[in-house]
Structure formats: structure tokens, C-alpha cells
Symmetry: C2
Subunit: 248 residues, 2 copies
DNA sequence: CGAAATCTTGAGTATAATCAAAAACGGTGG
DNA sequence: CCACCGTTTTTGATTATACTCAAGATTTCG
């Protein structure tokens, strides 16, 4: 695992600038955030439920997942984390983590000390607001997932998750119009939509049979985006992508 | 519907003071927040998905629920809102609401203009942090609900929701040790745990038959708290009740 | 007291789980 | 480059949890 500081770029900036224009002081403060960058293999926990980290992790590249586990040992992924996300930003205000975060593909992750984040927030209230806003969007996504898992059937759920992933990947420049790399196994999809891997396999075959998607290996190709959105009952409002073409 | 301003008390204060001691300026600012208080009947929407409110609502008394609806018209409650909660605080930063909030019992609700909230946040960074923290706890509850609905069976889910409700009601002084008023219908429980009302009826009977609870009308009495927690896989960590005896 | 809402019960059905095993794939080392 | 091994995907058969539909009992409230 390599480690450097001040990589000189920070995907948080791009996200914030889709909401408002940063001034020089703010941009510099974000660029100067100390950050320990590590390469992490697939399927490694980055942080664990019960931890009290003194830093937060910024996904620089790769896919990660936020998850919880029942007393019976069943895993539920509550969110996929893409480049630009800070899945444990909450730990800035909540001492004990109530969830784990694991890589699902090889990732590059930047660790930023809470001290440095607090300092930036103190000096730049608009950055505080932007971080707060990010956590509110996370909450909106969780709400949609409660609905998805609670009130939709597996076929619809699967379509919905695929729509969300493509839309979010587009927003960070990691998808073409209707296709993207998607290094997520059927087991992981199962843990995300709350069904078994066997059933994921069956609904995926159904989506393929309907001519909606191609999904082989790490590659997703959406053949009928309008139909998939309809089948998945997908309306991207809850992602709050504002100045963004991605919601098209 | 009656309307007054500056009721002279504010249940947000109590919540914040369980985390840190407010100074005089902060407390005065919170007490002076302009607030339009309204009495709202049961089963009325307070705000609706798609709204862009210019104020947030503070539940002063009664029970409310945050919910979303599928394209098929199925409702999913994503959170119960108790006195002291501000279920649409998110609207301070996110222009369009992605969920509705409805009363489930008669409620007294205080509406606070965003302008006033922004002003307080600007002048008192610790209050900003406290509000942010509240929204992070909301997110933690959503995560637990995704797990609950996605990976637990109905009997366990129901027990879990009852544990959460009693614990949260205790924290705001609305429950005795093991009982509380609970004006929630089986239909509403159904929408909260993602099953039908018929099935809620059956798991409740099972919980009664096991000697874990009494639940008639609006009254919940938990006969075996330890067992119910165990059955519901309930660990209150995710509620972040800090300086609070409620988690006992 | 009566109407509406809520709760309860039963029978039949559907979606998804479980279990087990085979096929396909992907990466690694010889 | 190919053989091998672990992982992932696929298939089939059986079972279980929860849904649907329908009707009756009970409670609540005006």
C-alpha cells in the first residue's frame, strides 16, 4: 500500500462546484487537505462497524459498498460508494460507526484526518454546508433504498439499482451514455437488493430476455434506457444531481 | 388551525443539550426562532414529495411518518417522526423534497422559516454542527431500516421497530420503562416494515403469544424487554442517544 | 346508536428462499 | 499458452414466507 500527501487534486471539488462556485480560498483549502492515499485490494474492509475513526475516507477510484450485517450474519449493502464519495463522513460527528465500508473492486482511497476537515469547516462555512448537503443526499438515497427493498419486487428492484448506478457513474464521468464498467458480482447485487444470489441471477436473465440490458463480466450495457427506467420506476430526483446532464 | 409565534420553548434545545452545553447566545437564538404553530389532524400530509418548502417543520407533539410511494401506489414509511424531530430539515439544503411527511396522530407542528434557520446557523457554528448531526442520525436510522426490511423476516422486523420506538420515546420522555402510548395502526406498521397489514396482524399475534408484548389500541406494553431486543436483533447504537439512560 | 375504520381469520396463491450441483469464467503459475 | 483452481454464474427441484382475496368481528368515534 503506497502513501502520499496532498495529491493536488480532490474529486470533492468537482462535486461541490456542481452546486456553487468555490472562491480561491475555499479551493486552496480543499486542495491542501492532507490526504493519505492507499491502494486497497478488492473485498477488504476500509472501516468496520464499531470503529471510531479519526479520519474519513475519500474514494478516489474503484467501487466500494457501505453495509451492515444482521445478528444471523446476513449482509445488507445499504449503498454503493463511487469515486468522489466519502462514505464515512458521518464519523466527523458520530463517534461510533454503525456500518462497515468495504471495497468491492480494487480501490484507491484517500484518508483525511478529521482535524483537517474540522479546520476547513470552521474557516469556510460554505464548505460545511456542502458537506452537510452531501450527507443529506446520502440520506435521500437510503430512503429510496428502503422503498426499493420494502415495496418493490425483485425484478423492479434490480432494474432500479442498475438505473441508479448508471446515473451516478455518468455524473462522475465514469459512464458513457448507456454503458459502464460495473465490477459488481451477483452476490453483491443480492446483498444490495435484499434477495438471494440465485434470485438475482434469475431476474437478470429476465432483464436480458426482455432486451433491456447486456451484463457480462464487468460490463453493463443498457439496451433500452427508457424501458429500464420505467421497469425500475426510476426517477433520479432523489440523487440531487443539479447542474448535471446525467439525469437525462 | 391555530397559529402563534415564539412559543418560548423549543424541544430542539433539549436534544442539542444532550450533546453539549449551549451558551446563552445559542440558547436565546434557538428560543427566538420564529415558529408558526399549527394543530394538524391525524392522517394529513404536512409536506409532500415534490414540494419546495421555504420552512421546516418541528414536531411538537404527536406522531408523524416520513414516507415514499412506488409507481404502483404502494406506500413505504421510511421513518417515524416523534416530538423534537424536524423531518424535513433536509429542505434547508435540497430544493425539492424526495419524500412526504404525514401525521399519523393529531399533531402540533411548528413551522420555522428557512431564512431564520440559516441565520442561526450562520451566527452559531455549533448549532450548524448539531443540526448536521441530527441529519446524520436520521441517515443512520435509514441504514438500519434498509437492513431491517432487506434482511430480516417479518417477525424480527416487527420486534425491531417496536424496540426502536420504545427507545426513542423514552429518550424524549414519552415512555415509561417498558410501555408507551403508540397510536400506530397495523396498516402503518405494515407500511413501515414492508409487509401487508394481514401479515402484521399475524406477527403481532405471534409476539403476543410468545409473551413478549401487549398491544391493544394505542397502548404498547413490553412484557419481556430483553427477549424482545433479542428477537428484534436490537442494538440501539445507531440511534446515537449519548448522554441518555434510554438505551438501557 | 350507527357508520367507518381497524383488526382478525381462513383458504388458496405467488414470490422468493433453500439446497444441491453443474457449467462457465478468470486469474495464476508452470 | 495451457492447465488448474477458486470464484462466479447458471440450472433444477423443493420449500417457506408472505401475499391476495374475501368476509366476519371488533373497536372507535361522531
Amino acid at each position: 500500500m503506497s502513501a502520499t500527501f496532498h495529491p493536488g487534486y480532490n474529486p470533492m471539488i468537482r462535486k461541490i462546484e456542481s452546486i456553487f462556485a468555490l472562491n480561491d480560498g475555499e479551493r486552496q483549502a480543499l486542495l491542501k487537505l492532507p490526504m493519505q492515499v492507499m491502494a486497497i485490494k478488492a473485498d477488504q474492509d476500509i472501516v468496520r462497524e464499531g470503529d471510531s475513526p479519526s479520519r474519513s475516507c475519500l474514494i478516489l477510484s474503484g467501487f466500494a459498498a457501505t453495509y451492515k450485517v444482521t445478528a444471523q450474519g446476513k449482509r445488507q449493502i445499504v449503498s454503493f460508494n463511487l469515486p468522489g464519495d466519502v462514505p464515512d463522513l458521518q464519523s466527523l460527528h458520530l463517534k461510533v460507526l454503525d456500518n462497515s465500508v468495504s471495497t468491492i473492486s480494487p480501490c484507491s482511497v484517500g484518508f483525511i484526518p478529521h482535524e483537517a476537515l474540522r479546520d476547513v469547516c470552521e474557516r469556510y462555512p460554505r464548505i460545511t454546508a456542502a458537506f452537510w448537503r452531501e450527507t443529506l443526499i446520502d440520506a435521500a438515497i437510503f430512503r429510496e433504498w428502503v422503498l426499493n427493498v420494502g415495496r418493490r419486487e425483485a425484478y423492479t428492484r434490480m432494474a432500479h439499482v442498475l438505473c441508479e448506478l448508471l446515473t451516478r457513474l455518468r455524473a462522475v464521468g465514469l459512464a458513457e451514455d448507456h454503458s459502464c464498467d460495473l465490477p459488481i458480482t451477483q452476490n453483491e447485487f443480492a446483498d444490495a437488493i435484499g434477495v438471494t444470489n440465485v434470485h438475482v441471477n434469475r431476474v437478470l436473465q429476465q432483464l436480458r430476455a426482455e432486451g433491456l440490458i447486456e451484463l457480462n463480466g464487468d460490463r453493463l450495457n443498457i439496451l433500452d434506457w427508457e424501458k429500464l427506467k420505467q421497469v425500475g420506476e426510476f426517477d433520479p430526483t432523489y440523487l440531487y444531481l443539479e447542474n448535471n446532464q446525467a439525469a437525462a
